[in-house]
């Protein structure tokens, strides 16, 4: 795929509107071409920022009450011999609607949280000072978070692994403070985010999730009341390997 062709499709890509047949080719190109990958990333960030900036105006509570009253005032009496089946159908429809809205909202919230974490990882890499505590020693990095975040966590012993610790910083997801740890692997950099499972309202079930977006691989899981995310542009097997190291450390 040539770059011009890819860039004409990036709008559809960031809107999740690209045909499945084109998706694999485009993502393969993004793996290879840093210019197009940066363009795709910028567009995703722009979309993300527009979503935040455009949610600007809220109706007043008085207007909401007025609207609810107006709608109820127009309610039609619909009692007839067939009211019972209709009521039952309406109840079923409402339950289905509520269930589908709940599923949609959870998925949507989850996707937003993942996109936000991807942004934070990329912003960290782009920063002149990516970490606030610079150390390869887990016994230096872990204590640095004491008093800065409302929980503690374990870091893995990395002596016999390809990973090395670069440092850490305090990060925020849904206004909840957490830890962001930066690891190096060959020429890749990976972030591990740790947040409290309950306090931030992070929209994930207890199940593990692995996903790929824009050539970034991510794994997330819950352990001991904490939600972990590992994200990076390293191969999925490396993201998984770091996840396993973190899991073992958490259980130690």
């Amino acid at each position: 795929m040539i770059c011009d062709d890819v860039r004409n499709r990036l709008s559809a890509y960031v809107d999740s509107e690209l045909a499945a047949s084109d998706l694999a080719d485009l993502e393969a190109h993004l793996h290879e071409c840093s210019g197009c990958a940066a363009d795709a990333l910028r567009r995703m960030k722009m979309k993300h920022m527009i979503r935040g900036a455009a949610a600007r105006y809220s109706p007043t509570p008085e207007f909401r009450i007025r609207m609810e009253r107006s709608i109820r005032a127009k309610k039609k009496p619909s009692w007839s011999s067939s009211w019972l089946p209709r009521l039952a159908m309406a109840a079923i429809a409402a339950m289905l609607l509520i269930a589908s809205v709940a599923v949609w909202e959870t998925r949507s919230d989850r996707d937003r949280a993942l996109a936000e974490l991807t942004d934070m990882h990329v912003a960290t890499l782009a920063s002149a000072n990516p970490v606030d505590v610079v150390s390869t020693d887990r016994h230096t990095v872990k204590p640095w978070f004491a008093g800065k975040i409302p929980f503690s966590f374990n870091l893995p012993e990395l002596q016999n692994s390809e990973f090395s610790l670069a440092g850490g910083r305090v990060s925020y997801l849904h206004h909840s403070p957490g830890a962001q740890l930066l690891f190096n692997l060959r020429k890749h950099e990976l972030s591990v985010f740790i947040f409290q499972e309950q306090s931030g309202g992070i929209p994930f079930s207890a199940a593990d999730i692995a996903s790929t977006k824009l050539a970034f691989h991510m794994e997330t899981w819950s352990e001991g009341g904490l939600r972990y995310f590992v994200i990076g542009d390293a191969p999925a097997s490396d993201v998984h390997a770091l996840s396993e190291l973190m899991k073992r450390a958490a259980r130690a």
Binding site: N8, S11, D15, R42, I50, S80, A126
Partner: protein
Amino acid sequence: MADTRIDSGSFEELAMPLFAQMYNFAHWLTQDASEAEDLVQETCMKALKGFDSFRQGSNFRAWIYRILRNTFLTSRTGLKTAALSLDDEESGLPEPVASGTPESILMADVDYQKIQDALEALSVQFRQVILLCDLEEMSYQEIAETLAIPVGTVMSRISRARKAMREALTDAKVRSASR
């Protein structure tokens, strides 16, 4: 023949969860709080009146947003903006994007205020398509149904609107850098 009439109870269950976002959308279109309230109220009343014609199982959100958009087009502000129609024919194809220009710089220092300013500066046609796509997260098909335009035109309009946004943000960055 089965009675398909639906009372306002079910209408309320479908419409009220969209109330806040409809108001936000209306405010972006009208740029005025009072006009936005009038627009949402009129939309809801029209939708409730025509709810019998709404086909259950079809897309309620696209349906009520279409009513909102049509109501806006017949409002005072809407009529004014209709006069400022898009000045060139839409091809249905996305615009090629230039690379290597300042607009391709990562948006590290762009804040919400600058984005809001850029959105306000867009034409209503561009603003509404960006809001439906990026804020409301509608699919291209839903946007096409809402705006009663072909999907190809939706793609073209989104592409051009984003280009206009990038240019406005680049200009803002250049202005703030030269101060």
